[in-house]
């Protein structure tokens, strides 16, 4: 069924009552009063507490596991290992197992698990298990792991065939045009290598689940997944492996943050299933903070090589990107981030000749997963940093260079993206205007010219000559001020209208309306704090002419809610929003058709507004919606209740084969501008000003939207400057907030959002997705500003003061 199309005219004709308003988040009240039920709050009768024993080494053969003492502890109801349970394989390549057999490949490997009547007994039982290991060679550097003779992390692939080396057989290659020809036509070429490490989501609510079987072996999994329907399928498959016939129901509690960390299922969930089935009691596994740090999967680390060229006028001629990704010991969504990195690689700025290659390599490190941006922050760091380097070589100021090459509406990119709405240029212009880009550049040029005079340098420097010229070139370092400022910008491209990376990118919605004018909306989507609950209320309320207080959104129960591909790819507002919109439009038609009969007036003159069925032809007939609903229900002739179902599948191309096609219904653009102050003596970076312009299509809820941009910006600034998971031969050294430097409230930067509204033709009320973009261009914008300030190019994240200072000292020759 094709979605009904709302034309621009129709949209413009009607003044929006609810959409576009900054309505507080639906669950704000229960969250601030402590009534929200998190996994931590969930207790079931007779519930047991599960606990996992992890490997204490990175690579070893399991010689023996002695569980006898643990089993003797009163209150311990089950002690499981791979040797007394069915094998459950999971993950994108099915190379991971719930409990590890014969060997461990990373520190977080699950070796044994217990269920006991209290968490303390479970802890004691874990400590009573004795595992004997025999160390095996390990490899921690992905490029070393690619070498011939490197220790194999997996001797066999999941099919049981021998692996030749540690490279994953994944087809992450894309090319368009002719890179060699582009290179030959280049007047300037810039190349660089960029590196990003491990960072983690830092969900304030630690991960956990409760698995409960009924006597007929049906499983209810209380979960915090971002993918209820897909997790259900995963758990159902595990039931098969367990030889259990029942059906799976996934029920969500309130999530204490997601950010991509719950986009795949985890071993602990399968272990909870095994423990619950063995004990015939509900089993809860709840991570402590240390586990949250080391046993959930972080952002995909990358080493990226990039070359870009431009002609004499500054038009991009080619872009060539290759990268090595540290996959860790098992394969989850981290290994698929290249498919999304292809997007900005091929299509951010207009460049015809593009090549992209990514190699994922097994190591004995922790395995990576999805995290806000899904690879695009990493590759955008390389693209946008390198773009400034290229612009400098071409002698063109960075903003002007970007404008010259910016994406435009109604174009098709080399990857085949059909770009209709495109706010790239408006975002660039908005940042430049807000920061007085030209004025700043002119003032700095004048200052540098002044400094140069003072230092006996060239007093004839003009603006275009000094852009990006490091201050060290102008004066001896001892004569420079301790603190110097600079500005930088970086842009982004992200999917804004779903992303067909699964076979379906769809979402189902059921809507029912009761006699009193209250509406229940059952959506397959979910809320992890991003505000989907509120967005759906607004869309349905707008469509039915009701207040949001009449709309109840029901999410997070696979027994009740239709299928959905999950909360990822910034897709929920767009895809779940459209699904709800089209379902609501059906209900609206039902109500109006009934109203026409009941009020005995032509359908065309009727509208739903302000809780009323409004009759334009005969205002006397205007009546409350609920009166029409009751008449329709109880009339002997009608006996109608209003309900509708809609499954929205975006008509996009599945990303596969040559990776060409239109895999999103809309594309989100943005530009971040930042002013930094660099302390040349300590290497510390202060963000003086941070502007984030985003093409959001239409802001359905400007309040929540600003929250997304602020949150993304702060998370990105932390990624750029402070956050890192520090591993020593596979062991995480900083699994706590003392040593993992997530920014605090005191570090908050006043991110200034600019909302550019260029409506997406296919979006609900014109909206595009905005969940991830706020984070994407943070690091390169800051890196470019640091370069502008002190003339050093930082190519590795986080840009820690030591690194900054070491680079400055080297550049200044001290």
């Amino acid at each position: 069924m094709n979605p009904p199309v709302i034309t621009e005219q129709e949209r413009a004709q009607k003044e929006l009552a609810v959409v576009g308003k900054g309505i507080p988040k639906a669950d704000a009240g229960v969250k601030v009063t402590g009534q929200a039920q998190y996994m931590h709050d969930l207790e079931l009768p007779n519930m047991l507490y599960g606990k996992i024993l992890y490997s204490d080494r990175a690579s070893a053969r399991i010689v023996s596991i002695d569980t006898s003492e643990a089993e003797r502890i009163p209150g311990v109801k089950a002690v499981l290992t791979a040797y007394n349970t069915p094998e459950i394989r999971f993950g994108f390549l099915k190379d991971n197992m719930a409990l590890k057999k014969d060997r461990v490949r990373q520190y977080r490997d699950e070796v044994a698990a217990v269920a006991a009547t209290t968490p303390e007994l479970a802890e004691a039982a874990i400590k009573a298990i004795v595992v004997h290991y025999e160390d095996l060679p390990a490899v921690f550097d992905p490029e070393e792991a690619m070498q011939e003779g490197a220790p194999l992390v997996h001797e066999l692939n999941p099919k049981g065939e021998p692996n030749k080396d540690n490279r994953l057989r994944l087809p992450w290659k894309f090319s368009a045009g002719d890179v060699e020809a582009g290179e030959a036509a280049s007047a300037f070429i810039a190349e660089g290598e960029y590196e990003t490490g491990w960072v983690t989501h830092c969900c304030l609510g630690t991960a956990g689940c409760v698995a409960a079987f009924d006597p007929d072996d049906n499983l209810t999994m209380y979960s915090i997944t971002q993918i209820p329907s897909l997790a259900k399928a995963d758990f159902q498959e595990a039931m098969k492996a367990m030889g259990v016939r029942g059906k799976v129901r996934v029920v969500l509690t309130t999530l204490g943050g997601g950010f991509g960390s719950k986009l795949d299922t985890y071993a602990f969930e399968y272990i909870a299933m095994l423990l619950a089935h063995r004990t015939k009691k509900p089993v809860k596994i709840l991570f402590d903070r240390e586990e949250e740090f080391f046993a959930t999967s972080p952002r995909q680390p990358t080493r990226i090589k990039i070359r870009q060229g431009c002609d004499a006028e500054g038009r991009l001629t080619f872009r060539d990107i290759s990268m090595v990704l540290d996959n860790g010991a098992y394969t989850s969504w981290g290994a698929t981030t290249p498919t999304v990195m292809m997007m900005p690689s091929s299509s951010l700025y207009q460049v015809e000749n593009v090549r992209f290659r990514a190699t994922c390599v097994y190591t004995n490190n922790t395995y990576a997963q999805a995290m806000r941006g899904y690879g695009t922050p990493q590759v955008t760091f390389a693209i946008e940093s390198n773009l400034d380097e290229l612009a400098e070589k071409a002698g063109i100021e960075g903003y002007e260079f970007r404008l010259k090459n910016a994406n435009l509406p109604d174009t098709v990119t080399p990857q085949g993206f059909k770009v209709d709405s495109c706010g790239h240029v408006p975002c660039l212009e908005a940042v430049a205007e807000r920061m007085d880009w030209a004025g700043y550049r002119a003032a700095k040029a004048a200052r540098l010219a002044g400094d140069a005079t003072g230092a006996g340098g060239d007093a004839t420097l003009v603006e275009s000559d000094t852009a990006g010229v490091p201050p060290v070139a102008q004066a001896a370092w001892t004569e420079l001020p301790d603190k110097v400022r600079g500005i930088g910008m970086a842009c982004l491209l992200h999917v804004g209208g779903g992303a067909k990376i699964y076979k379906s990118d769809g979402c189902g919605t059921l809507i029912k309306v009761d006699d009193l004018g209250y509406v229940d909306v059952y959506s397959g989507s979910m809320d992890m704090g991003q505000g989907l609950d509120t967005i759906l209320r607004q869309i349905v309320a707008e469509t039915l002419g009701l207040g949001v207080d009449r709309i109840n959104v029901v999410i997070g129960d696979t027994d009740v809610c239709p299928w959905d591909a999950g909360a990822h790819a910034s897709r929920s507002t767009f895809v779940a929003g459209n699904s709800a919109l089209y379902a609501a439009q059906q209900v609206r038609e039902q109500i109006l058709n009934s109203a026409a009969d009941i009020l005995d007036t032509p359908r065309d003159g009727l509208d739903l507004t302000g809780g009323m069925v409004v009759c334009a032809d005969d205002p006397e007939k205007t009546t409350k919606i609920e009166k029409v609903l009751r008449k329709a229900h109880f009339a002997s002739a009608g006996n109608t209740m209003f309900m509708a179902a809609y499954f929205y599948e975006p008509p996009t191309d599945l990303l596969a084969g040559d990776f060409k096609g239109n895999y999103s219904m809309a594309y989100a653009w943005g530009c971040h501008g930042v002013e930094v102050e660099v302390d040349r003596r300590t290497g510390q970076i202060d963000i003086v000003r941070y502007i984030a312009a985003h093409d959001v299509g239409k802001a359905i809820n400007p309040l929540l939207l600003r929250g997304q941009i602020l949150g993304g910006g702060l998370q990105g600034i932390g990624w750029a400057l402070a956050e890192e998971m520090i591993f020593d031969e596979g062991k995480l050294l900083n699994p706590n907030f003392r040593d993992y430097k997530m920014l605090t409230a005191l570090d908050s930067v006043d991110v200034e959002p600019i909302l550019v509204e260029d409506p997406a033709a296919a979006g609900p009320y014109g909206a595009k997705g905005i969940g991830e973009p706020g984070l994407v261009p943070t690091a390169p914008a800051i890196a470019n500003a640091i370069y502008d300030a002190v003339g050093i190019r930082l190519r590795k994240l986080p840009m820690k003061p030591e690194m900054v200072l070491a680079a400055i000292m080297e550049a200044e020759g001290r």
Binding site: K483, I687, L733, T744, L746, D747, P801
Partner: protein, 331 residues
């Protein structure tokens, strides 16, 4: 978390008796901001915890005079109380800054100055700041009271000269005299909830000529196994006119003499370099240069005018306001 007996004596003598009787099996607890973490993680497994919270008279901050003089700090005084003390900010700015930059406000509301000292962490902010003022510790033992200079108290990380059964009662800070300037800079990666990567305190007392240095202290956190003073560096300044060159020379010696080391939390070279950079900055921000006529007066925001540090026309973000204490925090 293992169970333990919780003892709550109401006198210091009673607490000392409890600890003496129980020996190694008991620990004293003040604010519990470290102890609870260690017990929960299993690092400490005491059979008994002797709380000092029921003892009256230890949560005190007693200035000698309203207009100055020395200061007595009860061991159970929370950092937040020192942070909020306008008197301390006026007369012992570095001490107020040290206390105000520790942990989070929540931690400062319960964590005590005595606990911070007795924990003997190399990064202890209040201890490093107190080193500047020649503080003396008053210690209650089974046999009565004894006094010990703070500078002699620390033995190593987590190790002090406190004997079995002894408890810290109070810290006495003598009057540093007129013309005293001090500043504590905690160097961190972020601004809140942070341990120092290293820290620097300076205290200068000038003669009445407002030029000659009468007394100088440079204290360092995380630059040795314990909070330390840079003896050779500070002695270089005494009896001589205060100049920027002299301070920079002293900073270099302090850096050379330090026992900084490499760890994954921070590199030795960087810590050493920060001593060199931050000692002069601390002197600058203490106001001593202004008093000695070496710098223009502080502006309203409390910013020490430095040598043209910022872009022309742009406001300086540097805010060494006395209430913040964390202005050197990294981004």
């Amino acid at each position: 978390m293992a169970g333990f007996e919780y003892v709550r004596p109401t006198t210091l003598e009673g607490a000392v008796a409890e600890l003496s009787m129980r020996g190694d099996t008991a620990v004293a607890v003040a604010g519990a901001t470290d102890l609870w973490v260690n017990i929960r993680s299993g690092k400490m497994k005491p059979e008994a915890v002797v709380s000092l919270r029921g003892i009256a008279g230890l949560d005190v901050l007693t200035p000698e005079r309203a207009d100055g003089g020395g200061l007595t700090i009860g061991a159970m005084t929370p950092h937040g109380k020192v942070e909020d003390s306008a008197w301390t900010a006026a007369h012992f700015p570095a001490l107020q800054q040290g206390c105000a930059g520790l942990g989070s406000r929540q931690v400062r509301n319960v964590g005590t100055v005595g606990g911070n000292i007795c924990n003997a962490a190399p990064c202890a902010d209040s201890a490093t700041a107190l080193m500047l003022f020649d503080a003396t510790l008053v210690i209650q033992g089974p046999g009565g009271l004894r006094e010990l200079p703070l500078g002699e108290f620390f033995v190593g990380p987590g190790m002090t000269r406190l004997l079995k059964g002894e408890l810290l009662k109070e810290i006495r800070v003598p009057d540093p005299g007129a013309n005293t300037f001090s500043r504590y800079i905690k160097h961190t990666r972020r601004r809140g909830v942070e341990l120092a990567m290293m820290s620097v305190g300076v205290r200068l007392t000038l003669e009445d000529d407002m030029t000659t240095v009468k007394a100088a202290r440079i204290s360092l956190g995380v630059c040795a196994p314990t909070p330390t003073c840079a003896d050779r560096a500070q002695d270089m300044l005494v009896g001589k006119p205060l100049t920027r060159e002299a301070v920079e020379a002293a900073a270099l010696v302090a850096a050379e003499d330090s026992q900084v080391r490499d760890s994954w939390r921070g590199k030795a070279w960087y810590r050493r370099e920060m001593i060199r950079v931050l000692v002069p900055r601390a002197v600058e921000q203490s106001g001593a240069y202004v008093a000695a006529g070496l710098a223009p007066a502080l502006d309203d925001a409390g910013s020490a005018a430095s040598s043209g540090a910022s872009a022309p026309g742009a406001p300086t973000p540097d805010d060494p306001g006395a209430s913040s204490g964390a202005t050197e925090g990294g981004a």
